[in-house]
Subunit: 391 residues, 2 copies
């Protein structure tokens, strides 16, 4: 029996597992210290009232014989896929049908699993810095990865790959830099993909945080995207579902390679390895698209963005160079000279008892940077800024 040795090419721990373990160790050694966590992008606000009402009502159904629901359709209930199609797409002028939508237990699973429908020999391009899942899951599958540097100099927008890339992962608003891409910049990637027969995996998990006009919320706002792009969405960041688990992938029927429909391939993967998201969570997801639900989640997003503004301005006032935080819940800061992101992580944990994420965890170009999230409690975020000022 041989193991999958591609796993041995990974760092020993997944980034956020490593951070959790360092914080746990520090906490155990300093039980008197109160730690403020602005590291992992986890939300802190409770599920909004209209969504709670839908969740509770669906839970009640599970306790009665007449309304009990067993296996969900593996692609997701029609009621949810229709709401997604209507509100997230058709309302924005993107013609995405319910049968191009696959509901899942979250964008992380989809990010990780989508590569399975592609051959091992494709060349994968990811940005640097990058959300580790895109890279790690392709390392696990033994694929060759090329990196597209995102630096201060290029405004954290990657250049079009110089070498041929078969699969390109993009995430905008970006995790970890908090920066966004304009429509004409994104269009260049679509044109590249059309010329080179590439496929773009577009992670739109943070689109609800876009505050400025002219920034695409979906890749399908660009021309020809349905022939080249898969889009991934999360309910975690806009509606607080990190603990409920819900997401979806869009695989357009127009997306074909080597004469095969990627929609059909993903449908086969979904049917074979997945058994549907829980009915109760799908009903909660449907309520996100109700009038009351949309109002409630927009309020939460606005409140998190107040944290982003606070972090951005306070750090600027302290003399730090900061990026992001305008159309995204992430602030990407340059750490003091001569320090690495991990040095700054340790310093902040020790002196301010504040947890962030070192840029090195996201790739080589993240070296000397540090990510803070706007998902904390408002009061905690304010206190964290005061503590950072004090060091």
């Amino acid at each position: 029996m041989k193991i999958n040795k591609d796993y041995l090419n990974l760092s020993e721990n997944y980034l956020f597992s490593e951070i959790a373990s360092r914080v746990k160790k520090y906490g155990a050694e300093h039980p008197d210290k109160e730690i403020i966590r602005l590291g992992i992008g986890d939300v802190t606000k409770p599920i909004a009232e209209p969504i709670m009402a839908a969740l509770k009502s669906a839970v009640d159904e599970m306790g009665k014989k007449e309304t009990f629901r067993g296996y969900a359709p593996d692609r997701g209930y029609e009621f949810l896929r229709k709401a997604i199609s209507d509100i997230d797409y058709k309302k924005r002028g993107c013609d995405i049908e319910p049968d191009e939508i696959f509901v899942s237990d979250g964008a992380k699973s989809d990010c990780g699993n989508i590569q399975e429908i592609f051959d091992k020999d494709n060349v994968v391009a990811v940005t640097d810095p990058v959300y580790p899942v895109y890279a790690d899951t392709n390392v696990m599958a033994g694929r060759k990865i090329i990196y597209m540097p995102c630096t201060k100099e290029n405004g954290f927008i990657p250049e079009i790959p110089k070498k041929k890339a078969d699969i390109i992962y993009l995430c905008f608003p970006n995790n970890p830099t908090g920066t966004v891409i304009k429509k004409d910049q994104l269009q260049k990637f679509i044109d590249y993909a059309q010329t080179n027969d590439s496929v773009i995996i577009y992670d739109a998990a943070y689109e609800a945080y876009i505050t400025e006009e002219g920034i695409p919320h979906s890749i399908y706002e660009c021309e020809g995207a349905k022939e080249v792009a898969i889009e991934l969405h999360s309910f975690s960041k806009n509606a607080g579902f990190t603990g409920l688990r819900l997401g979806y992938a869009v695989v357009p029927k127009a997306l074909k390679r080597e004469g095969v429909s990627l929609n059909a391939l993903w449908a086969r993967r979904h049917a074979t390895k997945y058994n549907g998201a829980p009915y109760i969570v799908q009903r909660a997801g449907e309520a996100v698209y109700s009038e009351a639900g949309m109002k409630a989640v927009m309020t939460q997003v606005r409140e998190y963005m107040e944290n982003a503004t606070l972090i951005r301005t306070k750090l600027s006032d302290m003399g730090y160079e900061v990026f992001g935080g305008v159309n995204a819940p992430y602030i990407w800061m340059k750490v003091p000279k001569e320090m690495s992101g991990w040095d700054f992580f340790d310093l902040l944990l020790d002196k301010a008892n504040v947890v962030g994420t070192p840029g090195e965890g996201f790739g080589k170009c993240g070296a000397g940077y540090f990510r803070l999230t706007a998902f904390g409690d408002k009061n905690d975020t304010q206190r964290a800024m005061e503590r950072i000022k004090g060091i």
Copy 2:
């Protein structure tokens, strides 16, 4: 961009998607017919009261800031892993610790994903007939599969593989045949795995249905199993979680290959591609192990087994040859001579409006057999038997 062409070696549809689509078509063409579904192994009883209480209470926590929970630990909450370790293992004399347990969104996901930690070049052995997920997911990964025939002649217990098998999937109580394996028979597979450096994937999804003494509920009841076996469990069949989604995998720390811990490999897979089962569902899972919860689920299992007895005896009385249904919720019947399982499927759907699963869907050795499940409503099950008698 090249697609994963191993997908093209699969049949076009996943078995149960194919059945659902045939039934849907029949229903649309015969809107006046009332169809009784004993096909897919989906439960029909509502979630039991003590589990509902825990679920509702956890849902309430999600609506309040002080008790809201975001991302769950990717391996599952300690409270659930401890309950599993205590009740499913230590109480049975199996020394499985909480850090050898990985909570997931269901055994189907685990069945499908576990092969990722193994090299592509391993030879996989599955029984024939077989739950399609074991075979399909290895076809998708391009592995070579050998089949272990399970026939009336060998009592549906596979022979030890004659060729070398690196990975062996076993499922007992068996889906689809409903038969069980005795401890000494299972021990032979463990001895084989130790001699040949193989790994056994043991699917114990139906262990709650064992009614007779001397049948192992876990592979870890056998000697040396911790060095060779991974065990998969579901909450779907014992506690009615098909629509809530919860399962777990046991990967013992003693299980190593080529000097690498499979527990560590699976931990890395879990952390990278999965973000934890919903907190509310894990609390419901914990309640399954409470005194009231265990009593309630045992009552449900007993009631489903009354259906199994009914199906078994009624079909026998009609002159059919039947297997299973004593320690499992599945009845495996021989269809009338000269007919295929798919012929019988169509006949039953058309003349009795009863849905079952043709044996061919589970493999070549399933030809001429038909699977019925005991998960239906009692009254429906009785009526289905009367209808079958009438044809």
